[in-house]
Amino acid sequence: MNRFFDNRNVLGLIFMLPAAALLLVFLTYPLALGTWLGFTDARIGRAGHWIGLENFSMLVQDSVARLSLFNTLFYTVVASTIKFALGLWLALLLNRNLPFKSFFRAIVLLPFIVPTALSAIAFWWIYDAQFSVVSWALERMGLIHRYIDFLGDPWNARLSTIAANIWRGVPFVAICLLAGLQTIPPSLYEAAALDGATPWQRFRHVTLPLLTPIIAVVMTFSVLFTFTDFQLIYVLTRGGPLNATHLMATLSFQRAIPGGNLGEGAALATLMIPFLLAAILFSYFGLQRRKWQQGARD
């Protein structure tokens, strides 16, 4: 018996069991259940019957669901790209020797610390059709003559929600990239400087390649968070106007819980999985490859 427990493999297995149990119960089971529900006509509280791909084929024909797919992709691509650009820029700035460095680094995190539901309410006021402080200020300055309809026009609403998402997401990207920047040995920059590299060349050939692994991880998370965003939209627009800001997550909720159609909501949520998987796979098999990081091509 003792020998059995001395075995490294057995011990390893035993130590892993609690974690595995947690993952199974709280991650695998809900995911599997959600996927299963997508293939049934379940309603809230009523077990469904297997209906195959019916939910999915209905969603494909549903103009609101198609619009939500477009909205989600647009929201994710635009918000993630800008979050990356601004985050990297901010990280580079914070990596310099600034006065009150720690103070600035701490303060940058604020938008990320404030609960989303709260900051969303602040944005709701900022974007209000009648009480917007932005419109008020611009009007006082004589730049506009009528309040901006931030959330009432489909494209304005899309861009406004994206702006709010960026505001919230940039600190996460910036702080993670800052951590990455600090792992780059200064000697590499010194060597590059001795070789006469310009600041751009130093960034392009020293910073960027060494930062790629962390960029991959950060952007994977950032894309996942953005793609599955819910709170911001729910507070600001509930998917309106004219469903122009309905993301797959918000529409899935609307159909499943208030609408009672659990099967269809689950199917819509399941449809998000391939996109999320694609983002993860791209990151892990693409951005993290040594060859790519060193600038080579396949």
Binding site: G45, Q130, G152, P154, R255, P258
Partner: protein, 441 residues
């Protein structure tokens, strides 16, 4: 299920009359006598009630006070939990289908028709109350009667009416609020010209958006489905409604496409909007404010029921509250006694007063509640149950009508058409396709 026979009814009324002759103390005792003779509570009974969270504080305070009174009189402990009104619906569905949960759930709209076989027949309670208090308004039967049996006790509805500024109306040459669509449009145009434009929610506003958009379509004779549940929204009547809506929308304050439920309250109280559709809460916020300016506004606020369209009858949609008793409850008699007790005049009228008329009564006798005559401005809200149509009109109520509303199909159609993002024909077709998905199941 026990039904009230004529003999039962005579017994109760005779008992009540006898008790009533004993004076005030007797009236209290008649409550107890009624609770014990009609619905003898089970031994050791205790109740759990889940209800929607108050919109006005007085409602919750008085409801709990009345509940406490019930406990004092019967010895039955009652626990009342509150949840946001939009969260009660999914919880009630789970309770119904899992077979465990609160004994009584006070939910919204057509919930009783979503799982009628899980609900206790409360015909005895409803017949007793209807007999005693002048009968139920017709719409109560739409919401709560299934195959001739009452499956829920109507609690009332949160009334919605036009809230407007009297001064602006008079300046525009209208002595009273117009009752027809042509006059209404003219008045809206006059409000805009006077710099006090109307504003009605067109975003995904569960309450305020659904209410006025349904009225607009119904008033013109359009409807989502016919009596058999066939989707008939794409019709000349709906088109007429949307064309009318376009003209009305042209008078609105900018930004209504983004409006959720709270927006119109804020804009009206700020004086940016002169006309909207809302509960009585705007008026009370102004009336009870400590600000002098707000008092002046309260003086100037008028209320009116929605105008009547070519269909020739009122066509409003109000947030209806059914009280459902579930079959899994172990204390059905105690629960029935509680439901009846809460709807009795001694409890209901003071509660309605405490809720400042936010909940409009389902029983006709409560039209005489002094609350309504104490301030003539309350009057339109006293009509709410009388002037409304059921959700999912003119079809059967149930899963499809609930899902159609939750998916904002009517609101989206109106918003698309009136804002010009789609032609009325396109908007109607899209609404039809979306609604058919729910109704064909």
């Amino acid at each position: 299920m026990s039904k009230v026979t004529r003999r039962d009814f005579l017994k109760t009324t005779a008992g009540a009359a006898a008790a009533g002759s004993l004076g005030v103390g007797g009236a209290m005792w008649s409550q107890e006598a009624f609770a014990q003779s009609h619905w003898k509570p089970e031994k050791g009974a205790k109740l759990r009630v889940l209800r929607w969270k108050r919109f006005v504080q007085g409602d919750e305070d008085k409801w709990l006070e009345n509940t406490k009174k019930f406990t004092q009189m019967t010895g039955i402990p009652v626990r009342v939990d509150s949840e946001g009104w939009e969260d009660v619906r999914p919880k009630a569905a789970v309770a119904a289908n899992v077979g465990t949960g609160p004994d009584i759930i006070i939910s919204t709209f057509e919930d009783a028709h979503q799982y009628p076989d899980k609900l206790v027949d409360v015909s005895d309670v409803c017949n007793y109350l209807g007999g005693k208090y002048g009968g139920w308004y017709d719409v109560c039967k739409d919401y709560c009667v299934e195959k001739g049996k009452w499956i829920a006790v109507p609690m009332g509805c949160a009334g919605n009416a036009i809230v407007h500024r009297i001064g602006t109306m008079k300046k525009a040459g209208f002595e009273e609020f117009p009752k027809d669509l042509a006059g209404f449009l003219k008045l809206a145009q006059a409000y805009k010209a006077a710099g006090m434009p109307p504003g009605f929610a067109l975003g995904n506003a569960t309450g305020d958006g659904n209410v006025w958009c349904h009225w607009l379509v119904w008033a013109h004779g359009g409807k989502m489905v016919d009596k058999k549940g066939n989707v008939v929204i794409a019709s000349p009547e709906t088109e007429a409604a949307l064309e009318y809506g376009k003209q009305l929308y042209a008078t609105f304050v900018p930004g209504t496409l983004s409006w959720l439920d709270p927006n119109n309250n804020k804009a009206f109280l700020d004086g940016q909007v002169g006309m909207t559709a809302n509960g009585i809460s705007i008026y009370y916020a102004a009336k009870n404010s400590k600000d002098e300016k707000m008092h002046a506004m309260a003086e100037d606020i008028g209320h009116a029921n929605f105008p009547i369209g070519p269909v020739g009858r009122t066509t409003e949609l109000n947030l209806f509250f059914p009280m459902m008793l579930f079959k899994y409850s172990r204390y059905k008699n105690a629960a029935k006694a509680y439901l009846a007790f809460m709807m009795e005049k001694e409890q209901y009228e003071p509660w309605q007063q405490a809720a400042i008329g936010y909940v409009s009564h389902p029983l006709k006798a409560y039209e005489k509640n002094p609350l309504w005559s104490s301030d003539p401005k309350n009057l339109p809200y006293s009509n709410s149950m009388k002037v409304m149509l059921p959700n999912g009109y003119d079809g059967p109520m149930g899963y499809a009508s609930a899902a159609t509303m939750a998916d904002f199909i009517m609101v989206n159609m109106v918003a698309e058409a009136v804002s010009g993002s789609k032609s009325p024909k396109e908007a109607m077709e899209r609404a039809k396709q979306r609604a058919e998905r729910y109704y064909k199941l």
